[in-house]
Amino acid sequence: MDVKIQSSSPTSDFLSDLANALYNGTGLSTAYGLITVDSNGSDRDSTFNISTTKVSGKLLVSGSVTASTNYTLSKVKLLASNGKTYFIASPSSGGGAVSQGTKINIYFYVTVTVSGSISYGSIGGSAVPYDIADYVYDVLMGTRSPSDLAFDGILFSFKDVNNVPISVTVSPSKTKSGNNINFSASATPNANWSLQNIGVIKQGKTTLWMYSLDQAITGSAGSTVSISASISLGAL
C-alpha cells in the first residue's frame, strides 16, 4: 500500500532558520529524524536512523518505522537536530490506515528552488539558481556549515567595450525583517562597460544565485550601478 502525500510545506521554523543562514550563517540545522503522526495529531512512530542523499536535484531523506499500533497515518514530520520540525507533510484525503506491525518506508524529498526577477527600467530579467539548492541540501545533510549560505559578495560581471571581463565584487549591505532579507550594493567601473549578469556569491566559495537581465545594459566609465534586492522564503 502506498500513501500519497498531497500537500506539504516547510514550517516557519525551517524558513526562519534558512533566513538566518542566508543573513548571517547561523541557524540552519541537519535533518535528524522522521515521525509519523496520526489523525488526532499525535506523534506515533519515529526513526532517527535516516539516510540523506541528493537525487536528481532533490534531497532525499529516507527511513523506516514500524507501526506500534493501528492508526490512520495523517502526517509525516521531518525533524532537525536542533529539535525543530522543519517539514510537515499531509497525505491526501482519507490518509492511510496502517495496522500494528506494518513497516512504513518513508521517502521524503525536499526541493529548493530560486525564483525571482530583476528589472532596469523597461528591461526585465530573472533570478537564476546556481549552487544555493546544493548548499542548503549539504547543510541539511551535515556536510556543510550554514555559514556557507551567508552570501557576502555581489559580483557585477561588467565587460569593457572589447568584451573583456572587468568584474567587480562588492560586499552588500544586508537587513533582515522576519524571513525577508533586503540587500543592496553598488559598483563603479573605471571603463565604459556593459552588464547583463549580477551574481550573489559566497566569496571564496561559489555563486549561490544570479540575476540575469534579458539584455545587456551599458554605461560610461565612472558611472555607478546600484542593485537593491529583497529575498522572501516560502513554499511553492
Binding site: 502525500i5 526541493t111 530560486v114 528589472s119 533570478a127 555607478t224 542593485i227
Partner: protein
C-alpha cells in the same frame, strides 16, 4: 658288527637328530614369522591427529609517559564485524505488511532586484 661299525651307526643317528632339530627350528621360525605377519595385520594402524589452531588479537597500544610517576596507557582495540540477519516467519503467520510513503516538498527562495545607474 664290529665296534667300529657301531660307532659309525651312533654318529649317523646324531647327525640325523641334529638335522631334524634344525628342520624343526626352521619350521618354528617360519611359524613365528607367519604369526607376526598376521598379528601386524590385525593390529590397527596408528592415526596421527595434529591440531593447529590460533587466535590472534590485533591491538594497538601507545604508551605515554607524562611524568616519571605517571604512566598513561592509551589502548584501543578495534572490532570489525558484520552480520547478516535473515528472518523467516512461520508459515502460519500472515506476512508482514509494508507501506511506502513518498513525499515531495519544496522551498522557494523568491527574490526580486532593481537596478539603477547614476
Amino acid at each position: 658288527m664290529t665296534g667300529r661299525d657301531e660307532k659309525k651307526t651312533d654318529d649317523s643317528d646324531d647327525l640325523l637328530s641334529m638335522i631334524e632339530m634344525i628342520i624343526w627350528l626352521i619350521v618354528l621360525l617360519g611359524l613365528i614369522a607367519i604369526f607376526q605377519s598376521i598379528f601386524k595385520r590385525i593390529q590397527p594402524s596408528s592415526i596421527d591427529v595434529k591440531v593447529s589452531d590460533s587466535v590472534s588479537l590485533l591491538t594497538d597500544a601507545s604508551l605515554i609517559v607524562v611524568s616519571p610517576s605517571d604512566v598513561v596507557v592509551d589502548e584501543s582495540v578495534g572490532i570489525n564485524t558484520s552480520a547478516t540477519l535473515n528472518v523467516t516467519q512461520p508459515s502460519t503467520q500472515p506476512p508482514a505488511s509494508e507501506t511506502s510513503i513518498t513525499i515531495n516538498d519544496s522551498v522557494d527562495i523568491s527574490t526580486s532586484a532593481y537596478l539603477s545607474v547614476s
